[in-house]
Symmetry: C2
Subunit: 195 residues, 2 copies
């Protein structure tokens, strides 16, 4: 391993992070620890109050999505996610007052955290969600019966993930032909509705 | 250099990135190239339509702020920025329709980009802003007479930068006693106004 790290690190930070990649940090049957260094992973996007039911968010939330460097590096080459991918969605309060800023919203404390992991040998459907109630305590496995699984499976642009909201990855998926049939169907329907 | 990289990289990605840090990518007297790998730098925050004049943004913009790994590592140790810091603020369209999302805003294409660099030997006041009109072409130096310099100098929480909007760095600055007098004065005024 050391010799590989030695070799890899001459190529720079990302390759070095890949060499240092770890297994998924399970804590027993249904818990996943929050990765200690996820804020130093690759940033994918930040969104405000995204949801799929049209309800207003209370409190208003800005999320930050990060992925482990090894999975990011694989995606940039193949347009899809490798086994052992960890996507972290950190949800923070979107504050709009209390500073010199006179407009807009900015991020303050963490509300909670969603972790979406790919572990082909462990989960039916290969992917699982874990929810950390405070962004620090281990995430609890979300039951496979919850509709976030079916929604991600049916509408995620790439392999159960909403790459349609990750602007730097969407073109990579297009170029690699890895966009899902469900996403392409949604896109055609939305284009038709816009006519 | 190689021996340092070899040594540093055993500590993982961030240290390795530090070892691979580069000089500021000037292009002539008043131009700064957009760093090719800034999306793999350290993410600091994302905000929606922040401004200081109260005007509504058109188009609505979600920004992403990144800093070079060497500067980030130094800040985590000292609570302030070293020479040759590069802070990139990538501004993207905040879209609110055209997907299965029924609420909120998400990021699409880059509108433009602001780069804030610290170069003590080159600039009066040590810092300078460069604006890239499309996020790809080199940034153009913003004249020192523009009020963004005075505003950052008077209200930035740490050394001319708005660390008050970088939630993971603000506590580090507090713990290191590097918060600016101007920021502390603003905080007291806002607290008083809230009574």
């Amino acid at each position: 391993m050391k010799s590989f790290v030695l070799f890899a690190c001459f190529a720079g930070a990302l390759t070095c992070a890949v060499a240092a990649a770890q297994e998924l940090p399970y804590r027993g049957q249904n818990l996943l620890a929050v990765p200690a260094d996820y804020r130093e992973w690759l940033f994918l996007t930040s969104s405000l109050d995204l949801n799929y039911n049209g309800a207003a968010e209370n409190p208003s939330v800005l999320d930050n999505v990060f992925v482990n460097p090894e999975a990011y590096k694989a995606f940039t080459k193949t347009g899809t996610w490798p086994d052992k991918t960890i996507i972290v969605k950190e949800n923070r309060i979107a504050a709009s007052a209390g500073t010199i800023s006179k407009n807009g919203k900015f991020q303050t404390q963490v509300v909670d955290m969603e972790m979406h992991v790919k572990d082909e040998g462990r989960f039916t459907g290969k992917w699982a969600f874990f929810m950390s109630s405070d962004g620090k305590s281990p995430g609890v496995l979300v039951p496979m019966s919850v509709n976030c699984y079916s929604c991600h499976g049916e509408h995620g642009a790439v392999d159960n993930t909403f790459v349609q909201f990750y602007p730097t990855l969407l073109d990579i998926a297009k170029n690699n032909g890895t966009l899902s049939g469900g996403y392409l169907k949604d896109t055609r329907a939305l284009a038709g509705a816009g006519k």
